[in-house]
C-alpha cells in the first residue's frame, strides 16, 4: 500500500498535513471555490442591481402620472345654449356638440376669476385654455344624463390642461414656454392665483388607473384602466390555453412519443418556434384568426390566441426540460406497483416537474404581457378608447388595447405629458406582473424539493 503513496506525486502531502492548515493545493482550490462563489454573487448582484436601476428609473419618472391637477368651477348650464326649444327633448339636446359647450366653460372661468378678484388681461378663451379639452365632454355627458339640471348652476371638477398640470408638477416652467403656443405666462399667473385660492389643486388621480385612453390633444385625461382589462383578458386566454396545451404537448413528447424522426422534427420545430420574431405571430394571427376565421379585429380574444401561440414554445421547452430532470427511478417505482404510464406521469413526474413548468409559465406570461409587436397587426395598437368591458364576452370580443401597446403609443406621442404617463403605465404593468407572478412563485416554492 505504501508504494502507492510513494508513487503518487507531490501535493499528496495534502491528506497527511494538519486539517487546520490548508495545503497549498487546497488553498488554491479554495480560492477557486471562492472565486466561483464570487461569480455567483456577482451575477446575482448584477441582475438585481440592474433591476434596481430600472425600477428606480421607472418609478422616479412615472409616479407623477398618478397625480393630476383639477380645477373646481361652477358652471351655469344655460338653457339658451343647450336646449333652445326648452322641451328637454333628448334628441334636441344631443344636437349640441361639445363645441357648443365651450362658451359655458368660458363663462364659468370668467365668473370664477371675477369672483376671486384676480386681475388678468386674458381673454375668456385664453382663460378657458388652462382647462382640459375634456371639460366640454364631461359637461355634455353630465347634461345628457341629467337634462333636468339645464338652467341650474352645477359645481364641476375639471381636469387642468397638460401644460398647467406640468407647471404644478415642475415639468413646465416660465422659461420653457417661451416658444410654446399652447400656454402663456399670463395663463400661468392665473393658475398661480387659482392655486392660492384653492380652486386648482393637484390630487391623486384614480382615473389614470381606471380610465381609458384619450387623444393626443388631452393627455391629462388618458388612463390605463381599459387597456389593463385588455391585458387581463388576454392573459386569461393565454393562461387557459398555453399552460394546459404546453404541458400536454410536453408530456406527450417527453413521456410517450416514440423516439423517432417524427418526434425529433416536432421537437426541433417547437424550439424553432421560440425563435420566430413575435411580429410573425401577428402576421399569422391576422391571416388565420381574422381573415380566415372571421374573429373580430382588435379583440383581446385574438390577441390572447396570438400570444398563446407565441408563449407555447416557452412553456413547452421549460416543461420538457423539467420532465427530463425527474430521475427515471421515480417512474420505475410507480410502474413497479402497477401504475400506468399515464398515472406515473400525472401522479409523480408532473408534481416533481412543477417548479420548472411554473417557471416557464412565469417567463412566458411575462413575455406575453409585455409584447406589442404581434398586437400591431391584429389591431390592438393605436387609439382604442372603448368603455371598460362589462361581461366576459365583451371583455374578449370588444375592441381593446393592451398595457404594453398603450405604453408604446404614449411613448410616441408628442406632448411630454404622455411621456410621464408612459412611465406611470409601466409602473402599473409591473405591479400587474408582480401580482400575477406571486401566485405562481408561491406555488412553485411549494413544489420544490430535492431527492
Amino acid at each position: 500500500m505504501t508504494d502507492i503513496s510513494q508513487n503518487t506525486p507531490g501535493p499528496e502531502g495534502s491528506h497527511a498535513g494538519s486539517l487546520l492548515q490548508q495545503s497549498d493545493r487546497t488553498r488554491k482550490r479554495n480560492a477557486a471555490e471562492r472565486r466561483f462563489r464570487g461569480y455567483g454573487i456577482a451575477a446575482i448582484t448584477v441582475g438585481l442591481l440592474m433591476l434596481a436601476v430600472l425600477v428606480f428609473t421607472i418609478v422616479s419618472r412615472g409616479t407623477g402620472a398618478f397625480q393630476q391637477t383639477f380645477i373646481t368651477l361652477d358652471v351655469e348650464l344655460l338653457e339658451s345654449k343647450l336646449d333652445k326649444s326648452g322641451t328637454r327633448d333628448l334628441d334636441a339636446i344631443k344636437k349640441v356638440t361639445t363645441f357648443g359647450y365651450a362658451p359655458l366653460i368660458k363663462n364659468a372661468v370668467q365668473a370664477k376669476v371675477v369672483e376671486l378678484g384676480i386681475e388678468t388681461d386674458l381673454k375668456a378663451k385664453a382663460m378657458a385654455g388652462i382647462l382640459s379639452k375634456n371639460a366640454a365632454a364631461q359637461l355634455r355627458a353630465y347634461v345628457l344624463e341629467n337634462p333636468d339640471q339645464i338652467g341650474e348652476t352645477v359645481t364641476f371638477r375639471f381636469l387642468a390642461s397638460s401644460r398647467v398640470d406640468g407647471y404644478l408638477k415642475g415639468r413646465v416652467s416660465r422659461d420653457s414656454i417661451v416658444n410654446d403656443k399652447s400656454i402663456s405666462p399670463a395663463q400661468l399667473d392665473l393658475v398661480d392665483a387659482l392655486v392660492t385660492a384653492g380652486v386648482a389643486a393637484k390630487t391623486f388621480n384614480l382615473d389614470f388607473i381606471t380610465g381609458a385612453d384619450a387623444s393626443d390633444a388631452r393627455p391629462e385625461a388618458a388612463g390605463m384602466g381599459v387597456s389593463m382589462m385588455g391585458s387581463l383578458f388576454m392573459m386569461l386566454v393565454v393562461l387557459a390555453l398555453a399552460l394546459p396545451i404546453g404541458v400536454a404537448a410536453s408530456i406527450y413528447l417527453e413521456e410517450f412519443a416514440p423516439k423517432n424522426w417524427l418526434t425529433d422534427v416536432i421537437e426541433v420545430n417547437i424550439s424553432n418556434l421560440a425563435a420566430v420574431p413575435s411580429i410573425v405571430f401577428g402576421i399569422l394571427g391576422l391571416a388565420v384568426f381574422i381573415n380566415y376565421m372571421h374573429l373580430p379585429m382588435s379583440a383581446p380574444l385574438v390577441g390572447g390566441l396570438v400570444l398563446t401561440l407565441m408563449t407555447l414554445p416557452t412553456v413547452i421547452i421549460s416543461t420538457r426540460a423539467s420532465l427530463k430532470s425527474v430521475p427515471p427511478s421515480i417512474r420505475d417505482a410507480a410502474l413497479g406497483v402497477g401504475a400506468s404510464r399515464m398515472q406515473a406521469v400525472f401522479h409523480h413526474v408532473l408534481p416533481l416537474a412543477a417548479p420548472g413548468i411554473l417557471t416557464g409559465t412565469i417567463i412566458g406570461l411575462a413575455q406575453a404581457l409585455g409584447e406589442t409587436a404581434p398586437l400591431l397587426l391584429i389591431g390592438m395598437v393605436g387609439f382604442i378608447a372603448s368603455n371598460a368591458p362589462e361581461t366576459l364576452a365583451d371583455g374578449l370580443l370588444a375592441p381593446n388595447s393592451a398595457m404594453p401597446a398603450q405604453i408604446y403609443e404614449w411613448a410616441k406621442r408628442a406632448d411630454p405629458a404622455f411621456y410621464e404617463r408612459a412611465w406611470g403605465g409601466i409602473i402599473i404593468l409591473l405591479i400587474f406582473l408582480v401580482t400575477m407572478n406571486t401566485v405562481a412563485v408561491i406555488l412553485r416554492r411549494r413544489f420544490e424539493r430535492r431527492w
Binding site: T97, D180, D216, A217, G382, A385
Partner: protein
Amino acid sequence: AAARDQVQVAGSSTVLPYASIVAEAFGENFDFPTPVVESGGSSAGLKRFCEGVGENTIDVANASRRIKEKEIKACAENGVTDIIEVQIGYDGIVFANDIKGNAFEYTPTDWFLALSDEILVDGKMVANPNKTWADVNSAFPAQNIQAFIPGTKHGTREVFEDKVILAGCEATGAFEHLLEHAEGDSDKAKKKAAEKACISLRTDGKSVDIDGDYTETLARIESNKDGIGVFGLAFYENNTDKLQVATMSGVVPTTESIAEGEYPVSRPLFFYVKKAHIGVIPGLKEYAEFFVADEVAGPDGPLAEYGLVADPELSKTQAVVSEEEVIGGNS
C-alpha cells in the same frame, strides 16, 4: 360572428394623432361607438384596407402619402374598387436641434453637403469630407455634423430626400454632373441612377437613421447635443422647451407658412374610405364627414391647434366626402 358596430381605422402613425382627436370627439358627440384607430404605418394600413370588402376588413386607411397605382390595382384584385380619397391637410417637416445649441438657417444645399455620400468638388465626385457644419457653410458654427434623419421606413424620409437632399444635389450641380456620367439605356434610367446617387447618404455615423419615432429622435438629441433632427411640426410645437427650429431657405415653419406654400418641406396627409362599407358600417360616413368638417379640420379647429396644416381647399374635400366621390371617376 356578431356584427361589428364601430368604425375601424388603421394606418399612418403620422395621421394617428389627428384621427384619434377626431375619433374621440366623434364618440363623444354621436351615438356611434368611438372608432378604433390603429397605428402601424401607411403601408400596413393600406394593405389591410385592400384585403377585401367585408366586416373583417378595415373601413378607413390613414396614409401620410398618396395611394400608389400598384396598390389601387392590388385593391381592385381583392374587390376593393371604390375608394374615396380624402386629403385632410399637410404635415410640416422641420429641422430642429437642442434649445441651448446654435441656431441654424439652412438651405437644401447645406444638407446635401453635410449628408451626401459624395459631393462635387472641383468637378469631381469625392467622398464627403465635411466634418463640421462650418465645413459645409462658413456661416455656420464649427459644430460636428450629427444628423438624426428618419429611417427608410418612414414616409418622411422620402420627402426629406426629395425636397431637401435632391434639391441640394441639383443646386450644387452635382445632379448634372451625375447625370452626365450616369450609365443607362434611356434618359429615364440615367435620371434614375443620378437620383439614386444623389440621395445615397454617408454611412460613417454622421447621418443616423431613426427607425423609431420623433420621441426617439428627441431622446438622441438629448443624449448628443450636437444632434440635429428631423421632426413633424406638431411634435416640435409640443416640445418647444427642448428644441429650437431652424429655418429652411429663410422661412420659419409654421402652420401658416406651410399652408401658404412658403415653407418647402411638407407632405399631404390622407385617409381613404371604402365606399362599399358606407351604409353598412354604422357611423362610417358620419365619421368621414365629421373629420373634414370646418369646426374640426378647419384652421381654428382642434386639429390645426394640434399642429395639422389645414388644407386651404377644405371645402372641396368636404364635397368629395359628402358626394362619395371615388378615385378615378364617379359611381
